[in-house]
Protein backbone atom coordinates (compact mmCIF):
# COMPACT_ATOMS: atom_id res chain seq x y z
CA UNK A 1 0.00 0.00 0.00
CA UNK A 2 2.74 2.47 0.89
CA UNK A 3 4.54 1.84 -2.40
CA UNK A 4 1.29 2.48 -4.24
CA UNK A 5 0.73 5.64 -2.21
CA UNK A 6 4.24 6.87 -2.84
CA UNK A 7 4.07 6.24 -6.57
CA UNK A 8 0.73 8.04 -6.90
CA UNK A 9 2.06 10.94 -4.90
CA UNK A 10 5.17 11.19 -7.04
CA UNK A 11 3.05 11.25 -10.19
CA UNK A 12 0.86 13.99 -8.75
CA UNK A 13 3.87 16.15 -7.87
CA UNK A 14 5.34 15.72 -11.35
CA UNK A 15 2.00 16.62 -12.90
CA UNK A 16 1.74 19.69 -10.69
CA UNK A 17 5.15 20.81 -11.92
CA UNK A 18 4.06 20.52 -15.55
CA UNK A 19 0.79 22.26 -14.70
CA UNK A 20 2.71 25.16 -13.17
CA UNK A 21 4.91 25.46 -16.27
CA UNK A 22 1.88 25.58 -18.54
CA UNK A 23 0.14 28.12 -16.34
CA UNK A 24 3.23 30.32 -16.19
CA UNK A 25 3.82 30.01 -19.93
CA UNK A 26 0.24 30.93 -20.83
CA UNK A 27 0.32 34.17 -18.93
CA UNK A 28 3.83 35.21 -19.90
CA UNK A 29 4.05 34.18 -23.52
CA UNK A 30 0.60 35.40 -24.54
CA UNK A 31 0.57 38.64 -26.53
CA UNK A 32 0.64 41.44 -24.04
CA UNK A 33 1.85 39.53 -21.04
CA UNK A 34 1.75 40.92 -17.54
CA UNK A 35 3.03 44.35 -18.68
CA UNK A 36 0.10 44.97 -21.02
CA UNK A 37 -2.08 46.51 -18.33
CA UNK A 38 0.48 49.26 -17.76
CA UNK A 39 1.24 49.82 -21.42
CA UNK A 40 -2.42 49.84 -22.42
CA UNK A 41 -3.18 53.46 -21.57
CA UNK A 42 -0.28 54.76 -23.61
CA UNK A 43 0.34 57.41 -20.97
CA UNK A 44 3.45 55.89 -19.50
CA UNK A 45 6.83 56.60 -20.93
CA UNK A 46 9.18 53.79 -21.83
CA UNK A 47 11.28 54.73 -18.79
CA UNK A 48 8.31 54.23 -16.49
CA UNK A 49 7.51 50.90 -18.10
CA UNK A 50 11.11 49.77 -17.73
CA UNK A 51 11.13 50.80 -14.10
CA UNK A 52 7.91 48.85 -13.39
CA UNK A 53 9.26 45.82 -15.23
CA UNK A 54 12.41 46.09 -13.12
CA UNK A 55 10.44 46.38 -9.89
CA UNK A 56 8.14 43.47 -10.68
CA UNK A 57 11.07 41.42 -11.95
CA UNK A 58 9.52 41.14 -15.40
CA UNK A 59 12.67 42.05 -17.32
CA UNK A 60 14.68 38.99 -16.35
CA UNK A 61 14.94 35.77 -18.38
CA UNK A 62 11.77 33.67 -18.24
CA UNK A 63 13.31 30.56 -16.65
CA UNK A 64 14.64 32.71 -13.81
CA UNK A 65 11.22 34.32 -13.39
CA UNK A 66 9.61 30.90 -13.43
CA UNK A 67 11.93 29.44 -10.82
CA UNK A 68 11.42 32.41 -8.55
CA UNK A 69 7.65 32.37 -9.06
CA UNK A 70 7.49 28.64 -8.34
CA UNK A 71 9.54 29.03 -5.20
CA UNK A 72 7.32 31.82 -3.93
CA UNK A 73 4.16 29.82 -4.76
CA UNK A 74 5.51 26.86 -2.81
CA UNK A 75 6.38 28.99 0.18
CA UNK A 76 2.85 30.37 0.26
CA UNK A 77 3.48 33.80 -1.24
CA UNK A 78 1.16 33.97 -4.24
CA UNK A 79 1.73 37.67 -4.77
CA UNK A 80 -0.55 40.61 -4.27
CA UNK A 81 -3.54 41.69 -6.29
CA UNK A 82 -2.82 44.47 -8.82
CA UNK A 83 -6.26 45.81 -7.96
CA UNK A 84 -6.24 46.36 -4.21
CA UNK A 85 -2.89 45.10 -2.98
CA UNK A 86 -4.39 42.28 -0.90
CA UNK A 87 -2.45 39.00 -0.77
CA UNK A 88 -3.80 36.60 -3.40
CA UNK A 89 -4.09 33.74 -0.91
CA UNK A 90 -6.31 35.88 1.33
CA UNK A 91 -8.54 36.89 -1.59
CA UNK A 92 -8.96 33.31 -2.78
CA UNK A 93 -9.46 32.17 0.81
CA UNK A 94 -12.36 34.54 1.31
CA UNK A 95 -14.12 33.33 -1.84
CA UNK A 96 -13.42 29.64 -1.93
CA UNK A 97 -15.88 28.79 0.83
CA UNK A 98 -18.91 29.91 -1.16
CA UNK A 99 -17.77 27.85 -4.15
CA UNK A 100 -17.04 24.72 -2.13
CA UNK A 101 -20.40 25.03 -0.39
CA UNK A 102 -22.12 25.09 -3.78
CA UNK A 103 -20.02 22.25 -5.16
CA UNK A 104 -20.41 19.98 -2.14
CA UNK A 105 -24.16 20.44 -1.87
CA UNK A 106 -24.83 19.86 -5.54
CA UNK A 107 -22.49 16.84 -5.65
CA UNK A 108 -24.33 15.28 -2.73
CA UNK A 109 -27.68 15.94 -4.37
CA UNK A 110 -26.46 14.65 -7.72
CA UNK A 111 -25.12 11.48 -6.11
CA UNK A 112 -28.44 10.67 -4.45
CA UNK A 113 -30.69 11.44 -7.41
CA UNK A 114 -28.25 10.18 -10.05
CA UNK A 115 -27.60 6.92 -8.21
CA UNK A 116 -31.32 6.35 -7.80
CA UNK A 117 -31.99 6.97 -11.51
CA UNK A 118 -29.08 4.73 -12.47
CA UNK A 119 -30.13 1.86 -10.21
CA UNK A 120 -33.76 1.94 -11.30
CA UNK A 121 -32.64 2.20 -14.91
CA UNK A 122 -30.37 -0.84 -14.53
CA UNK A 123 -33.00 -2.95 -12.78
CA UNK A 124 -35.71 -2.07 -15.27
CA UNK A 125 -33.45 -2.05 -18.26
CA UNK A 126 -34.99 -0.89 -21.54
CA UNK A 127 -38.15 0.18 -19.75
CA UNK A 128 -39.78 3.50 -20.55
CA UNK A 129 -38.12 4.97 -17.46
CA UNK A 130 -34.72 3.76 -18.60
CA UNK A 131 -35.11 5.21 -22.10
CA UNK A 132 -36.34 8.53 -20.75
CA UNK A 133 -33.42 8.64 -18.30
CA UNK A 134 -30.97 7.93 -21.12
CA UNK A 135 -32.34 10.64 -23.38
CA UNK A 136 -32.78 13.00 -20.44
CA UNK A 137 -29.16 12.57 -19.37
CA UNK A 138 -27.94 13.30 -22.90
CA UNK A 139 -30.04 16.44 -23.12
CA UNK A 140 -28.91 17.52 -19.65
CA UNK A 141 -25.29 17.20 -20.77
CA UNK A 142 -26.03 19.35 -23.83
CA UNK A 143 -27.82 22.23 -22.11
CA UNK A 144 -25.56 25.25 -21.56
CA UNK A 145 -25.36 25.71 -17.78
CA UNK A 146 -25.82 29.48 -17.95
CA UNK A 147 -28.96 29.12 -20.02
CA UNK A 148 -30.43 26.59 -17.63
CA UNK A 149 -29.65 29.10 -14.89
CA UNK A 150 -31.51 31.84 -16.74
CA UNK A 151 -34.49 29.53 -17.25
CA UNK A 152 -34.50 28.63 -13.55
CA UNK A 153 -34.38 32.31 -12.62
CA UNK A 154 -37.17 33.10 -15.05
CA UNK A 155 -39.44 30.28 -13.90
CA UNK A 156 -38.81 30.29 -10.15
CA UNK A 157 -37.93 33.93 -9.50
CA UNK A 158 -39.63 36.05 -12.13
CA UNK A 159 -42.68 33.95 -12.89
CA UNK A 160 -43.48 32.02 -9.72
CA UNK A 161 -41.62 34.28 -7.33
CA UNK A 162 -40.53 31.36 -5.15
CA UNK A 163 -36.77 31.78 -5.19
CA UNK A 164 -34.41 34.74 -4.95
CA UNK A 165 -32.61 35.45 -8.21
CA UNK A 166 -29.13 35.77 -6.80
CA UNK A 167 -26.67 36.41 -3.95
CA UNK A 168 -25.85 34.22 -1.01
CA UNK A 169 -28.29 35.74 1.45
CA UNK A 170 -30.50 38.78 1.86
CA UNK A 171 -28.48 41.64 3.30
CA UNK A 172 -29.37 42.01 6.96
CA UNK A 173 -30.77 38.49 7.18
CA UNK A 174 -28.06 35.86 7.53
CA UNK A 175 -30.25 33.14 8.96
CA UNK A 176 -29.76 29.54 7.86
CA UNK A 177 -33.22 29.34 6.26
CA UNK A 178 -32.45 32.43 4.21
CA UNK A 179 -29.13 30.99 3.08
CA UNK A 180 -30.68 27.67 2.11
CA UNK A 181 -33.40 29.52 0.25
CA UNK A 182 -30.72 31.31 -1.79
CA UNK A 183 -28.87 28.07 -2.45
CA UNK A 184 -31.74 26.15 -4.05
CA UNK A 185 -31.46 27.79 -7.48
CA UNK A 186 -27.69 27.59 -8.01
CA UNK A 187 -27.49 24.08 -6.55
CA UNK A 188 -30.25 22.90 -8.87
CA UNK A 189 -28.39 24.33 -11.87
CA UNK A 190 -24.97 23.00 -10.87
CA UNK A 191 -26.34 19.56 -9.97
CA UNK A 192 -27.94 19.00 -13.38
CA UNK A 193 -24.80 17.88 -15.23
CA UNK A 194 -23.46 15.88 -12.28
CA UNK A 195 -26.78 14.06 -11.93
CA UNK A 196 -26.72 13.14 -15.60
CA UNK A 197 -23.14 11.86 -15.33
CA UNK A 198 -23.84 9.91 -12.15
CA UNK A 199 -26.97 8.27 -13.48
CA UNK A 200 -25.17 7.07 -16.63
CA UNK A 201 -22.18 5.62 -14.81
CA UNK A 202 -24.29 4.17 -12.02
CA UNK A 203 -26.46 2.40 -14.56
CA UNK A 204 -23.58 0.80 -16.43
CA UNK A 205 -21.71 -0.06 -13.24
CA UNK A 206 -24.82 -1.70 -11.81
CA UNK A 207 -25.39 -3.64 -15.03
CA UNK A 208 -21.83 -4.90 -14.93
CA UNK A 209 -22.16 -6.07 -11.35
CA UNK A 210 -25.51 -7.88 -11.70
CA UNK A 211 -23.97 -10.12 -14.36
CA UNK A 212 -21.22 -11.31 -12.00
CA UNK A 213 -21.06 -14.85 -10.61
CA UNK A 214 -21.43 -13.85 -6.98
CA UNK A 215 -24.79 -12.27 -7.71
CA UNK A 216 -25.88 -15.55 -9.25
CA UNK A 217 -24.61 -17.32 -6.12
CA UNK A 218 -26.55 -14.94 -3.90
CA UNK A 219 -29.62 -15.55 -5.96
CA UNK A 220 -29.05 -19.32 -5.75
CA UNK A 221 -28.80 -19.06 -1.98
CA UNK A 222 -32.35 -17.80 -2.10
CA UNK A 223 -31.70 -14.26 -0.92
CA UNK A 224 -34.42 -11.72 -1.53
CA UNK A 225 -34.10 -9.42 -4.53
CA UNK A 226 -33.82 -6.46 -2.21
CA UNK A 227 -31.03 -7.97 -0.19
CA UNK A 228 -29.12 -8.97 -3.32
CA UNK A 229 -29.40 -5.51 -4.77
CA UNK A 230 -28.44 -3.56 -1.69
CA UNK A 231 -26.02 -5.82 0.17
CA UNK A 232 -24.26 -7.42 -2.78
CA UNK A 233 -24.75 -5.48 -5.98
CA UNK A 234 -24.93 -1.86 -4.86
CA UNK A 235 -21.87 -2.05 -2.64
CA UNK A 236 -19.73 -3.19 -5.51
CA UNK A 237 -21.39 -1.01 -8.08
CA UNK A 238 -20.62 2.07 -6.00
CA UNK A 239 -16.87 1.41 -6.13
CA UNK A 240 -16.23 2.90 -9.57
CA UNK A 241 -18.32 5.90 -8.54
CA UNK A 242 -15.44 7.00 -6.29
CA UNK A 243 -13.35 7.48 -9.40
CA UNK A 244 -16.15 9.23 -11.27
CA UNK A 245 -16.62 11.72 -8.44
CA UNK A 246 -12.90 12.43 -8.22
CA UNK A 247 -12.54 12.95 -11.96
CA UNK A 248 -15.64 15.14 -12.08
CA UNK A 249 -13.94 18.04 -10.26
CA UNK A 250 -12.91 20.01 -13.40
CA UNK A 251 -16.43 19.87 -14.85
CA UNK A 252 -17.84 20.88 -11.51
CA UNK A 253 -15.47 23.84 -11.21
CA UNK A 254 -16.31 25.05 -14.71
CA UNK A 255 -19.99 24.69 -13.94
CA UNK A 256 -19.56 26.55 -10.67
CA UNK A 257 -17.93 29.51 -12.45
CA UNK A 258 -20.89 29.87 -14.80
CA UNK A 259 -23.51 29.24 -12.12
CA UNK A 260 -21.92 31.83 -9.85
CA UNK A 261 -21.97 34.38 -12.65
CA UNK A 262 -25.66 33.85 -13.40
CA UNK A 263 -26.72 33.83 -9.74
CA UNK A 264 -24.25 36.56 -8.62
CA UNK A 265 -22.87 34.08 -6.11
CA UNK A 266 -19.78 35.56 -4.44
CA UNK A 267 -17.48 32.60 -5.09
CA UNK A 268 -14.16 31.87 -6.76
CA UNK A 269 -15.63 31.70 -10.26
CA UNK A 270 -17.00 35.21 -10.09
CA UNK A 271 -13.76 36.42 -8.55
CA UNK A 272 -11.91 34.86 -11.48
CA UNK A 273 -14.13 36.63 -14.00
CA UNK A 274 -13.79 39.97 -12.18
CA UNK A 275 -10.01 39.58 -12.00
CA UNK A 276 -9.84 38.87 -15.71
CA UNK A 277 -11.73 42.02 -16.56
CA UNK A 278 -9.28 43.99 -14.37
CA UNK A 279 -6.31 42.10 -15.83
CA UNK A 280 -5.35 41.25 -12.29
CA UNK A 281 -2.64 38.73 -13.19
CA UNK A 282 -1.63 37.50 -9.74
CA UNK A 283 -5.24 36.65 -8.85
CA UNK A 284 -5.98 35.06 -12.26
CA UNK A 285 -2.81 33.01 -11.96
CA UNK A 286 -3.57 32.12 -8.36
CA UNK A 287 -7.07 30.86 -9.15
CA UNK A 288 -5.88 29.01 -12.25
CA UNK A 289 -3.26 27.18 -10.19
CA UNK A 290 -5.60 26.68 -7.26
CA UNK A 291 -8.28 25.10 -9.44
CA UNK A 292 -5.70 22.83 -11.08
CA UNK A 293 -4.55 21.75 -7.62
CA UNK A 294 -8.16 21.01 -6.66
CA UNK A 295 -8.49 18.88 -9.79
CA UNK A 296 -5.28 17.03 -8.94
CA UNK A 297 -6.42 16.47 -5.37
CA UNK A 298 -9.69 15.12 -6.75
CA UNK A 299 -8.05 12.53 -8.96
CA UNK A 300 -5.46 11.64 -6.33
CA UNK A 301 -8.15 11.21 -3.68
CA UNK A 302 -10.16 9.08 -6.10
CA UNK A 303 -7.18 6.79 -6.63
CA UNK A 304 -6.36 6.50 -2.95
CA UNK A 305 -9.94 6.00 -1.81
CA UNK A 306 -10.48 3.44 -4.51
CA UNK A 307 -7.35 1.65 -3.38
CA UNK A 308 -8.58 1.72 0.19
CA UNK A 309 -12.05 0.52 -0.75
CA UNK A 310 -10.93 -2.20 -3.11
CA UNK A 311 -8.11 -4.32 -1.67
CA UNK A 312 -7.35 -5.86 -5.07
CA UNK A 313 -6.10 -2.54 -6.44
CA UNK A 314 -3.83 -1.68 -3.53
CA UNK A 315 -2.02 -5.01 -3.59
CA UNK A 316 -1.42 -5.09 -7.29
CA UNK A 317 -0.44 -1.40 -7.45
Amino acid sequence: MSAFLLRRFGQAVLLLLIVSMIGFAILHLAPGGPMSQFAAGGEMSQEDLDRIAEQLGLNRPLPVQYAEWLWRMLSGDWGRSYRDGQPVTAIIGSHVGATLQLMATSTLLAMLIGAWIGIVGAIRRYSLFDSLATVGAMVALSIPTFWFGLVVIYVFSVWLGWLPSGNRYTIGDGSLINQIHHMIGPVMVLALVSTAVWSRYMRSSMLEVVNQDYIRTARAKGLSQRSILIRHALRNALLPMITITGLHVPTLLSGALVTETVFTWPGMGRLFLDSISYRDYPVVMGILMFSAVLVLIGSLAADLLYGAADPRIARSG
Binding site: L15, A30, S142, W147, Y154, V158, V258, I276, V284, L288
Partner: protein
Amino acid sequence: MSASDISVETLSLPQSGFWHRPGFKRFRCHKLAVFGACGIALLTLACVFGPMLLPYSDTFIDIRQRFAPPLSGPHILGTDPLGRDLLARLLMAGRISLAVGFCAMIIAMAIGVCVGLIAGFYEGVIGAALMRFVDAMLCFPSIFLLLAISALIQPSVPSIVLLIAMTSWMEVARVVEAQIRSLKTRDFVQAAVSFGASNRRIMFRELLPNAIAPIVVAATLNVAHAILAESYISFLGYGIQPPTPSWGNMLESAQSYLTRAPWLAILPGAAITLAVTSFNFAGDGLRDTLDPRMDLS
Protein backbone atom coordinates in the same frame (compact mmCIF):
# COMPACT_ATOMS: atom_id res chain seq x y z
CA MET B 1 -26.24 4.32 -40.13
CA SER B 2 -28.59 2.30 -42.31
CA ALA B 3 -31.17 0.12 -40.66
CA SER B 4 -29.92 -2.98 -42.45
CA ASP B 5 -27.22 -3.83 -39.97
CA ILE B 6 -29.68 -4.43 -37.16
CA SER B 7 -29.79 -8.15 -36.74
CA VAL B 8 -30.16 -8.75 -33.08
CA GLU B 9 -33.50 -10.53 -33.06
CA THR B 10 -31.70 -13.76 -32.12
CA LEU B 11 -31.46 -12.76 -28.48
CA SER B 12 -34.41 -13.27 -26.21
CA LEU B 13 -35.26 -11.74 -22.89
CA PRO B 14 -37.95 -12.87 -20.48
CA GLN B 15 -39.88 -9.62 -20.78
CA SER B 16 -42.20 -8.91 -23.65
CA GLY B 17 -43.89 -5.87 -25.18
CA PHE B 18 -42.53 -3.04 -27.24
CA TRP B 19 -40.23 -1.48 -24.64
CA HIS B 20 -38.62 -4.82 -23.87
CA ARG B 21 -37.98 -5.98 -27.40
CA PRO B 22 -34.39 -7.16 -27.66
CA GLY B 23 -33.61 -4.99 -30.63
CA PHE B 24 -34.86 -1.90 -28.88
CA LYS B 25 -31.53 -0.69 -27.68
CA ARG B 26 -29.96 -0.76 -31.14
CA PHE B 27 -33.13 0.66 -32.54
CA ARG B 28 -33.23 3.41 -29.97
CA CYS B 29 -29.60 4.26 -30.52
CA HIS B 30 -30.29 4.51 -34.20
CA LYS B 31 -33.35 6.58 -33.60
CA LEU B 32 -31.37 9.05 -31.56
CA ALA B 33 -28.58 9.06 -34.09
CA VAL B 34 -31.11 9.74 -36.82
CA PHE B 35 -32.60 12.51 -34.72
CA GLY B 36 -29.11 13.94 -34.27
CA ALA B 37 -28.26 13.75 -37.96
CA CYS B 38 -31.58 15.37 -38.91
CA GLY B 39 -31.05 18.09 -36.33
CA ILE B 40 -27.58 18.87 -37.69
CA ALA B 41 -28.81 18.91 -41.30
CA LEU B 42 -31.82 21.05 -40.46
CA LEU B 43 -29.85 23.60 -38.46
CA THR B 44 -27.13 23.84 -41.09
CA LEU B 45 -29.62 24.31 -43.92
CA ALA B 46 -31.64 26.83 -41.95
CA CYS B 47 -28.57 28.88 -41.03
CA VAL B 48 -27.10 28.81 -44.55
CA PHE B 49 -30.25 29.48 -46.58
CA GLY B 50 -32.69 30.81 -43.99
CA PRO B 51 -31.47 34.43 -43.87
CA MET B 52 -31.97 34.78 -47.65
CA LEU B 53 -35.61 33.75 -47.38
CA LEU B 54 -36.53 36.09 -44.57
CA PRO B 55 -38.10 39.49 -45.24
CA TYR B 56 -35.92 41.13 -42.57
CA SER B 57 -32.19 41.51 -42.41
CA ASP B 58 -30.55 40.73 -39.07
CA THR B 59 -29.15 44.24 -38.88
CA PHE B 60 -32.34 46.11 -39.80
CA ILE B 61 -33.31 48.28 -36.83
CA ASP B 62 -37.03 48.92 -36.48
CA ILE B 63 -37.32 51.14 -33.43
CA ARG B 64 -41.15 51.11 -33.41
CA GLN B 65 -41.13 47.32 -33.08
CA ARG B 66 -38.87 47.06 -30.03
CA PHE B 67 -39.52 44.10 -27.71
CA ALA B 68 -42.22 42.62 -29.94
CA PRO B 69 -43.08 39.21 -28.47
CA PRO B 70 -42.96 36.10 -30.68
CA LEU B 71 -45.95 35.20 -32.87
CA SER B 72 -47.53 38.61 -32.39
CA GLY B 73 -46.79 40.56 -35.55
CA PRO B 74 -44.70 40.57 -38.66
CA HIS B 75 -41.68 39.30 -36.72
CA ILE B 76 -42.25 35.56 -36.21
CA LEU B 77 -39.96 35.14 -33.21
CA GLY B 78 -40.27 38.71 -31.99
CA THR B 79 -37.63 41.42 -31.80
CA ASP B 80 -34.77 42.46 -29.54
CA PRO B 81 -34.28 45.76 -27.63
CA LEU B 82 -33.31 47.51 -30.89
CA GLY B 83 -36.25 46.13 -32.83
CA ARG B 84 -34.12 43.71 -34.87
CA ASP B 85 -35.82 40.54 -36.07
CA LEU B 86 -34.89 37.75 -33.66
CA LEU B 87 -35.25 34.90 -36.15
CA ALA B 88 -32.90 36.58 -38.62
CA ARG B 89 -30.43 37.21 -35.83
CA LEU B 90 -30.70 33.63 -34.58
CA LEU B 91 -29.92 32.26 -38.02
CA MET B 92 -27.01 34.63 -38.61
CA ALA B 93 -25.69 33.79 -35.14
CA GLY B 94 -26.09 30.13 -36.01
CA ARG B 95 -23.79 30.58 -38.99
CA ILE B 96 -21.09 31.92 -36.69
CA SER B 97 -21.64 29.43 -33.88
CA LEU B 98 -21.79 26.38 -36.13
CA ALA B 99 -18.82 27.55 -38.19
CA VAL B 100 -16.79 28.15 -35.02
CA GLY B 101 -17.76 24.66 -33.83
CA PHE B 102 -16.73 22.98 -37.09
CA CYS B 103 -13.47 24.88 -37.55
CA ALA B 104 -12.42 24.44 -33.93
CA MET B 105 -13.15 20.73 -34.24
CA ILE B 106 -10.97 20.37 -37.34
CA ILE B 107 -8.01 22.10 -35.72
CA ALA B 108 -8.50 20.24 -32.43
CA MET B 109 -8.68 16.94 -34.28
CA ALA B 110 -5.52 17.72 -36.23
CA ILE B 111 -3.60 18.48 -33.03
CA GLY B 112 -5.14 15.64 -31.05
CA VAL B 113 -4.62 13.01 -33.73
CA CYS B 114 -0.99 14.02 -34.31
CA VAL B 115 -0.14 14.06 -30.61
CA GLY B 116 -1.97 10.78 -29.99
CA LEU B 117 -0.38 9.14 -33.00
CA ILE B 118 3.14 10.16 -32.05
CA ALA B 119 2.67 9.35 -28.37
CA GLY B 120 1.13 5.97 -29.12
CA PHE B 121 3.72 5.04 -31.73
CA TYR B 122 6.89 6.11 -29.95
CA GLU B 123 5.85 4.99 -26.48
CA GLY B 124 9.04 5.51 -24.42
CA VAL B 125 10.14 8.96 -23.35
CA ILE B 126 8.43 10.94 -26.13
CA GLY B 127 5.11 9.20 -25.54
CA ALA B 128 5.28 9.62 -21.78
CA ALA B 129 6.24 13.29 -22.07
CA LEU B 130 3.42 14.04 -24.51
CA MET B 131 0.82 12.21 -22.46
CA ARG B 132 1.91 13.88 -19.21
CA PHE B 133 1.49 17.19 -21.03
CA VAL B 134 -2.03 16.07 -21.99
CA ASP B 135 -2.73 15.11 -18.37
CA ALA B 136 -1.47 18.47 -17.16
CA MET B 137 -3.61 20.40 -19.67
CA LEU B 138 -6.63 18.44 -18.47
CA CYS B 139 -5.96 19.58 -14.91
CA PHE B 140 -7.20 23.05 -15.78
CA PRO B 141 -11.00 23.26 -15.74
CA SER B 142 -11.79 24.09 -19.37
CA ILE B 143 -13.64 27.36 -18.76
CA PHE B 144 -10.89 28.72 -16.53
CA LEU B 145 -8.31 28.00 -19.21
CA LEU B 146 -10.49 29.43 -21.99
CA LEU B 147 -11.18 32.61 -20.06
CA ALA B 148 -7.62 33.11 -18.88
CA ILE B 149 -6.32 33.00 -22.45
CA SER B 150 -9.25 34.79 -24.09
CA ALA B 151 -8.74 37.74 -21.80
CA LEU B 152 -5.19 38.08 -23.09
CA ILE B 153 -5.85 38.01 -26.81
CA GLN B 154 -7.72 40.32 -29.12
CA PRO B 155 -11.08 38.61 -29.55
CA SER B 156 -11.99 37.85 -33.16
CA VAL B 157 -13.66 34.89 -34.82
CA PRO B 158 -10.38 33.19 -35.91
CA SER B 159 -8.74 33.72 -32.55
CA ILE B 160 -11.76 32.26 -30.73
CA VAL B 161 -11.65 29.22 -33.04
CA LEU B 162 -7.94 28.72 -32.28
CA LEU B 163 -8.51 29.21 -28.59
CA ILE B 164 -11.27 26.61 -28.40
CA ALA B 165 -9.21 24.17 -30.46
CA MET B 166 -6.18 24.70 -28.21
CA THR B 167 -8.18 23.77 -25.13
CA SER B 168 -10.13 20.80 -26.49
CA TRP B 169 -7.67 18.51 -28.30
CA MET B 170 -6.56 16.60 -25.21
CA GLU B 171 -9.40 14.08 -25.02
CA VAL B 172 -8.85 13.24 -28.70
CA ALA B 173 -5.15 12.69 -28.08
CA ARG B 174 -5.98 10.26 -25.27
CA VAL B 175 -8.43 8.30 -27.42
CA VAL B 176 -6.03 8.07 -30.36
CA GLU B 177 -3.04 7.19 -28.20
CA ALA B 178 -4.86 4.28 -26.56
CA GLN B 179 -6.09 3.08 -29.93
CA ILE B 180 -2.67 3.27 -31.59
CA ARG B 181 -0.99 1.51 -28.71
CA SER B 182 -3.31 -1.45 -28.98
CA LEU B 183 -3.19 -1.52 -32.79
CA LYS B 184 0.61 -1.43 -32.80
CA THR B 185 0.89 -4.98 -31.51
CA ARG B 186 -1.32 -6.41 -34.25
CA ASP B 187 -0.01 -8.65 -37.00
CA PHE B 188 -0.58 -6.29 -39.91
CA VAL B 189 1.74 -3.76 -38.32
CA GLN B 190 4.39 -6.42 -37.81
CA ALA B 191 3.98 -7.32 -41.46
CA ALA B 192 4.46 -3.72 -42.53
CA VAL B 193 7.57 -3.48 -40.34
CA SER B 194 9.03 -6.63 -41.87
CA PHE B 195 8.42 -5.22 -45.35
CA GLY B 196 10.63 -2.33 -44.34
CA ALA B 197 7.91 0.32 -44.31
CA SER B 198 8.99 3.65 -42.88
CA ASN B 199 7.65 4.81 -39.54
CA ARG B 200 5.69 7.56 -41.20
CA ARG B 201 4.09 5.12 -43.60
CA ILE B 202 3.14 2.78 -40.76
CA MET B 203 1.68 5.63 -38.74
CA PHE B 204 -0.36 7.28 -41.48
CA ARG B 205 -1.07 4.41 -43.86
CA GLU B 206 -1.44 1.44 -41.52
CA LEU B 207 -2.35 2.64 -38.06
CA LEU B 208 -4.43 5.77 -38.68
CA PRO B 209 -6.99 4.24 -41.11
CA ASN B 210 -7.62 1.46 -38.60
CA ALA B 211 -8.26 3.95 -35.82
CA ILE B 212 -10.70 5.99 -37.87
CA ALA B 213 -13.88 4.84 -36.08
CA PRO B 214 -13.10 6.31 -32.65
CA ILE B 215 -11.68 9.40 -34.37
CA VAL B 216 -14.95 10.02 -36.21
CA VAL B 217 -16.89 9.60 -32.97
CA ALA B 218 -14.53 11.94 -31.12
CA ALA B 219 -14.82 14.50 -33.93
CA THR B 220 -18.60 14.55 -33.73
CA LEU B 221 -18.60 14.94 -29.96
CA ASN B 222 -15.88 17.58 -30.30
CA VAL B 223 -18.16 19.80 -32.41
CA ALA B 224 -20.74 19.65 -29.62
CA HIS B 225 -18.07 20.60 -27.11
CA ALA B 226 -16.80 23.47 -29.28
CA ILE B 227 -20.27 24.96 -29.80
CA LEU B 228 -20.84 24.80 -26.06
CA ALA B 229 -17.42 26.33 -25.31
CA GLU B 230 -18.08 29.21 -27.73
CA SER B 231 -21.43 29.91 -26.11
CA TYR B 232 -19.89 29.91 -22.64
CA ILE B 233 -17.13 32.41 -23.33
CA SER B 234 -19.36 34.57 -25.52
CA PHE B 235 -21.98 34.64 -22.77
CA LEU B 236 -19.31 35.69 -20.29
CA GLY B 237 -18.24 38.47 -22.66
CA TYR B 238 -14.87 37.17 -23.84
CA GLY B 239 -15.89 35.32 -26.98
CA ILE B 240 -17.42 36.57 -30.23
CA GLN B 241 -17.93 40.29 -29.83
CA PRO B 242 -21.10 42.15 -30.90
CA PRO B 243 -22.15 43.37 -33.44
CA THR B 244 -21.20 39.92 -34.84
CA PRO B 245 -24.01 37.79 -33.43
CA SER B 246 -23.43 34.36 -31.90
CA TRP B 247 -25.84 32.29 -29.83
CA GLY B 248 -23.69 32.88 -26.79
CA ASN B 249 -23.44 36.66 -27.00
CA MET B 250 -27.15 37.00 -27.80
CA LEU B 251 -27.73 35.56 -24.35
CA GLU B 252 -25.26 37.91 -22.72
CA SER B 253 -27.54 40.92 -23.06
CA ALA B 254 -30.73 38.91 -22.60
CA GLN B 255 -30.16 38.44 -18.89
CA SER B 256 -30.98 42.07 -18.12
CA TYR B 257 -34.27 41.84 -20.03
CA LEU B 258 -35.37 38.58 -18.40
CA THR B 259 -38.52 40.08 -16.90
CA ARG B 260 -39.51 42.16 -19.88
CA ALA B 261 -38.56 39.91 -22.79
CA PRO B 262 -37.89 36.32 -21.69
CA TRP B 263 -37.92 35.06 -25.29
CA LEU B 264 -34.61 36.84 -25.86
CA ALA B 265 -33.03 34.47 -23.37
CA ILE B 266 -35.03 31.34 -24.12
CA LEU B 267 -34.70 31.11 -27.90
CA PRO B 268 -30.89 31.38 -28.37
CA GLY B 269 -30.40 28.92 -25.53
CA ALA B 270 -32.84 26.52 -27.13
CA ALA B 271 -30.87 26.82 -30.38
CA ILE B 272 -27.62 25.97 -28.58
CA THR B 273 -29.25 23.04 -26.80
CA LEU B 274 -30.69 21.72 -30.06
CA ALA B 275 -27.34 21.96 -31.84
CA VAL B 276 -25.32 20.41 -29.02
CA THR B 277 -27.88 17.65 -28.39
CA SER B 278 -27.90 16.80 -32.10
CA PHE B 279 -24.13 16.42 -32.25
CA ASN B 280 -24.06 14.45 -29.00
CA PHE B 281 -26.77 12.09 -30.18
CA ALA B 282 -25.10 11.64 -33.55
CA GLY B 283 -21.75 10.97 -31.89
CA ASP B 284 -23.22 8.48 -29.47
CA GLY B 285 -25.14 6.73 -32.22
CA LEU B 286 -21.98 6.55 -34.33
CA ARG B 287 -20.07 5.05 -31.45
CA ASP B 288 -22.66 2.30 -31.03
CA THR B 289 -22.87 1.67 -34.74
CA LEU B 290 -19.14 1.72 -35.47
CA ASP B 291 -18.07 -0.35 -32.50
CA PRO B 292 -18.24 -4.04 -33.48
CA ARG B 293 -17.86 -5.06 -29.86
CA MET B 294 -20.95 -3.09 -28.92
CA ASP B 295 -22.60 -5.00 -26.10
CA LEU B 296 -26.01 -6.13 -27.21
CA SER B 297 -26.95 -8.41 -24.35
